[in-house]
């Protein structure tokens, strides 16, 4: 079956398709998160070999939110680039809808990281490379949202913020290398490396399934927000005025 993807680049078609998909993403998000947390909390040891006590269970939400923060940034840049190349309105709407969920995930990652830091390193915050670069990601998100909000003309604000997001992409590999440092002598870090090696299999499963749940959540809310943006921006079009919900 051949799918005409460009058909869904039209806000009208996307609006009706996403309306059908959102409930499915919600069901998947709730189910996967519950399964992930169940595995993570009930089928894992209370203490790890490396001396980590039960506080390590923060990992399920910390890793999921931090990963989502970075992936959503990549996704936002993807939509921004599609918008810049093909000049499709919907891509810009998707990019701006992704930004807010990304900011929220970054914030949640910062807070859970600070709580975990307090238990395992004895400090809420340290200006180590990982945390500092991650904080910059948070500011880049805020910059994107502020820039978009500060320009009244929609087309101009879409384009300007899309360029900013592409420039800001430079921070993502920096965050990655700040934790997986090529030469550990060169960059001392409190934060442990993000490696799957030696991680107990149920902890890993719990972490991955919860993250998958957070992916589904992100799809659901990003679609919900995009639908709101579509309604707002297209409210004067005839297809919107014919919608069941506004009649």
């Amino acid at each position: 079956m051949k799918i005409n993807w460009f058909k869904y680049a039209a806000p009208m078609n996307f609006y009706s398709l996403s309306g059908k998909l959102i409930p499915l993403f919600w069901v998947a998000a709730i189910a996967l998160t519950l399964i992930g947390l169940y595995l993570g909390f009930f089928t894992t040891p209370n203490e790890l070999g490396n001396g980590m006590k039960e506080y390590y269970k923060i990992i399920y939400v910390h890793v999921a939110t931090v990963w989502m923060a970075m992936w959503l940034y990549g996704m936002m840049v993807f939509w921004a680039l599609i918008g810049l190349i093909f000049n499709t309105r919907l891509s810009y709407m998707m990019a701006s809808a992704t930004a807010i969920t990304g900011t929220l995930m970054t914030f949640a990652g910062l807070v859970t990281g600070a709580i975990w830091g307090k238990t395992s390193w004895g400090t809420w915050w340290d200006w180590d490379p990982r945390m500092t670069t991650y904080l910059i990601l948070f500011f880049v998100y805020i910059g994107y949202i502020s820039l978009q909000a500060s320009i009244d003309d929609t087309r101009r604000s879409d384009k300007a913020s899309a360029f900013l997001s592409v420039v800001g992409l430079a921070i993502v590999p920096v965050i990655y290398y700040s934790i997986n440092c090529p030469d550990p002598d060169q960059c001392a870090s409190l934060h442990q490396e993000s490696s799957f090696k030696g991680v107990e299999s149920n902890i890993l499963k719990g972490m991955l399934i919860t993250t998958l749940g957070f992916w589904m959540y992100s799809f659901a809310v990003i679609m919900m927000r995009t639908r709101n943006v579509i309604l707002k921006r297209e409210q004067k079009t005839s297809w919107v005025s014919k919608l069941k919900e506004v009649s």
């Binding site: 923060i58 939400v61 949640a108 919900m224 639908r227 309604l231 506004v246």
Partner: protein, 58 residues
């Protein structure tokens, strides 16, 4: 159950992390639903106004 909540003395840290994350993940869709309702209300209001002006001009 009490042991589970206690988390070996780290309950406050673990449950506050979970609490903050899931509070945010509930707040976001809730705000979106409210935003949708207010946009729909606005569209309906504008539609009514337009219909009134149309019938007035006839």
């Amino acid at each position: 159950m009490a042991d589970f909540l206690h988390m070996g003395g780290y309950g406050a840290y673990v449950w506050s992390s979970m609490g903050i994350v899931f509070f945010l993940l509930l707040l976001e869709p809730l705000l979106l639903v409210m935003q949708r309702k207010s946009i729909i209300k606005d569209i309906k209001r504008i539609k009514r106004m337009e219909q009134r002006t149309k019938s007035h001009n006839k």
